[in-house]
Amino acid sequence: MRKSKGRQKIEMVKMPNDSNLQVTFSKRRSGLFKKASELCTLCGAEIGIIVFSPGKKVFSFGHPCVETIIDRFLTRNPPQNSGTLQLIEAHRNASVREHNVQLTQLTNQLEAEKKRGEALNRMRKAGQAEHWWEAPIEGLGLQQLEQLKGSLEELKKNVAKQADRLLIQNSNPPQFFGAGNSNHGVIPFDTIIPYDTKNVGLSGNAMPHTYNHGYGRGFF
């Protein structure tokens, strides 16, 4: 499903549609700052950009910062090169380098996840062709819905059973320290484990194993 029109050749005049104009401004302004930032990093340039938005707000980008670029331009003074300034500059550049590394990593991760999403979509589509119950719920008839619901509720019960089974298993880990305390490391069966919360790993449950407290109770 295409979400945007993709690359299109565009005429260099004021955009006729106002909401398109707003979107274009937003995207292009961001892209402009990105290009400016890259130019600074790659070639050691110092750049200032001021942009007034259609809504009369002002955006600005500056490296090292907007004010110094403006001052340098207005006063026509060459940049000061004190030791302190250079030190500050060096710190800032190091920080920028780190950020760039982090951003690159994130971008790669995002791309990987998007590809994974597309693969999952393909799987879903393939499944829909084979099994009626994988089709979107919107398109199902009443009997189908009822039957599917019954099956899902059944499955849900089994999932809950399996979850209980796992929790009971995991509450009996092998003994530590051989301290002779038979309760060592056993979780009481009435410990409340949240079932509905998403992303609750075992570490998120209320089972702190503080075995290294030694021979008293292994948990509190």
């Binding site: 130019l39 110092e46 750049i47 942009v51 920028v96 999403g117 999952l120 799987m123 039957q147």
Partner: protein, 253 residues
């Protein structure tokens, strides 16, 4: 345009750096100009390079001065609100990317667990799943059930609207019907559907609470495939095997 991925670091090779600077500076100024034209806004750029004491500016030194003046006339808060340098700009982009990544991961997780749900419905075991998976699977199941309930509700509301015709007499002989699970079924008399559905729902609820039938189904499933259902295999879910006998006794027009 080259499509090589450029490492975001200072280019140490002098001639390469100079060439890159020339190209990118030109591209940058072009983008500034386009932004100004397309969106009919005032903008300016000042570029200092290591190669020249004089900056390169757009649109013109005069216009740049005007824009700076206009900028400085704005209240301090408005000036700095959307002001960024490299560091803050990168931090913004990182925050945005992190958010996009999290959302994509959540969506993918949901899609993944939906696949697991479908596979489980046709008999794949749950023993490969850890506790987090099971939690998420439960969540996806709940979400599906909720969607189904809403759809059922809306379908029933539609059917309740037309005035009910007199119900036709029920067929005497129970023919072994393959229930065709397509939307064609909904085109039959609305009142039939309404009556049938109520009965179906009741029966399904009854059967669902009969756990002994589940054991039986599990044993059957393990033994052979053919036991699973009459009619086409892909019409029926094994989880609803216990409703099969019901269907065969209930004639659908």
């Amino acid at each position: 345009m080259t499509r090589k991925k450029v490492k975001l670091a200072y280019i140490t090779n002098d001639s390469s750096r100079k060439a890159t600077f020339k190209k990118r500076k030109k591209g940058l100024l072009k983008k500034v100009s386009e932004l100004s034209t397309l969106c009919d806004i005032k903008t300016c750029a000042i570029i200092y390079s290591p190669y020249d004491t004089q900056p390169e500016v757009w649109p013109s030194p005069m216009e740049v001065q005007n824009i700076i003046a206009k900028f400085k006339m704005m209240p301090e808060m408005d000036q700095s609100k959307k002001m960024v340098n490299q560091e803050s700009f990168l931090r913004q982009r990182i925050a945005k990317s992190e958010e996009q990544l999290k959302k994509q991961q959540r969506d993918n997780r949901e899609k993944e667990m939906t696949q697991v749900m479908y596979r489980s419905l046709v008999g794949e075991g749950l023993h490969n799943l850890n506790i987090v998976d099971l939690n998420d699977l439960g969540w996806v199941i709940d979400k599906s059930i909720k969607e189904i309930d809403e759809k059922i509700k809306s379908l029933l509301e539609q059917q309740a609207v037309p005035p009910p015709p007199p119900p036709p007499p029920a067929a005497a002989a129970p023919a072994p019907q393959v229930v065709t699970m397509t939307s064609h079924a909904s085109r039959t008399t609305k009142q039939d559907m309404f009556n049938d559905e109520a009965a179906v729902r009741n029966t399904i609820t009854d059967l669902a609470t009969d756990s002994s039938q589940n054991q039986q189904w599990l044993m059957d499933l393990l033994k052979s495939n053919d036991n699973m259902c009459f009619g086409r295999n892909d019409d029926m879910l094994p989880y609803s095997l216990h409703t099969n006998n019901f269907w065969s006794n209930f004639p659908f027009p």
